[in-house]
Point group: C2
């Protein structure tokens, strides 16, 4: 398999963690977003949306959208499970993940941020825009795991929720967000940081890191 | 079951369609977003994120995030399948759905739009912001179904892709987006409009429609 990504793309970071947790191998190919390499004709032929990540499977299929890729990994290699438990537990894990993937992360993508700047927003306003989305979303995530036990978001093994949380907290720290109100999230993140799968997937561990 | 929603919320609209396609019954409860009813103490006790939809199951669980709810419906009532086919097909259907749920819809939520206005954007700029997200996302969706057959997005039965597409095209028309470049999407939408499940779930068919 070939994973097309960028070291600091949080959606790519999610897929790297999922692959590592499942012990699946993928050749990593990097496309520098700042230099527009995701808009090259070759990459657009592969993924017309021009976004990372994209996963080329061994049968030549090109899969896109990080959560769709991870659901495919889960179906292809069910163990260790990233969506463990019963249906209700899986619904809560997916809801937590979607707060991050739908309600936080899209608002801090390059496209919307550049559009904000063309509307006249200065860098302080852009940073506050990013932080506001994270504060709202993290509050929802913190509430969603208020009654779960274990060291990770949903018990004693990492799930899709942790796979989404860790890259988002990485971004939160880049933007100096005060994480004091999110003690459960910070604790789960610390538990993840003790696992090789999360450490090997970190942006600074990638060959294209700057 | 009880579905908490609002007639014009596109995420609630998705869940209404999925319930109707599967022939599942839910009592519908409406929360007027314009009047802030989703921020009432009673509703926040149910869903701390203060968003619609939320689904109360017969066992008293509260499920949130539309795609997580629909995956739960799919697991609970597998037929008719909204994620049919093999793993790769399911990955493509989920990717299409996530382009809408992650890359388009969050950018047109009330929160970000109000923040745009506080940054000084006038209504023309807000509308152009909404349209830009739809143009980008619909282009990706149109490409994702370029090689599928059938009258719906992915074959001859409606899938999660159609469940997400129809509410987004409803929003596109509200914002007078030119749909000419998206012939495949418009054709799938027209096929859906011939089904009772889609018609009964439409915003104007809801008792809280204004």
């Amino acid at each position: 398999m070939i994973l097309h990504g960028y070291y600091r793309s949080s959606a790519t970071y999610r897929v790297r963690i999922a692959l590592a947790l499942k012990g699946m191998e993928a050749v990593q190919t990097y496309h520098h977003l700042g230099r527009g390499e995701h808009r090259s004709p070759d990459y657009l032929a592969l993924n017309p949306q021009g976004r990372v990540p994209a996963l080329e499977t061994d049968t030549g299929e090109v899969l896109t959208q990080s959560l769709a890729i991870i659901e495919w990994l889960e179906e292809t290699c069910p163990s260790p499970a990233l969506l463990p438990g019963d249906g209700v537990q899986r619904a809560h894990i997916r809801a937590f993940s979607q707060v991050i993937a739908c309600d936080i992360q899209p608002l801090q993508n390059t496209g919307p941020l550049n559009r904000l700047r063309t509307l006249g927003a200065d860098e302080a306003a852009v940073t506050e825009w990013i932080r506001a989305a994270m504060r709202d979303g993290f509050s929802a995530c913190e509430a969603l795991i208020a009654r779960t036990g274990g060291v990770f978001c949903f018990g004693d093994t990492p799930t899709l929720a942790d796979v989404c949380l860790v890259p988002q907290l990485y971004n939160a720290r880049r933007h100096s967000l005060d994480l004091t109100p999110f003690a459960r999230l910070v604790a789960a993140d610390a538990a993840c940081a003790r696992l090789d799968a999360f450490r090997s997937a970190a942006p600074e561990a990638q060959p294209d890191a700057e």
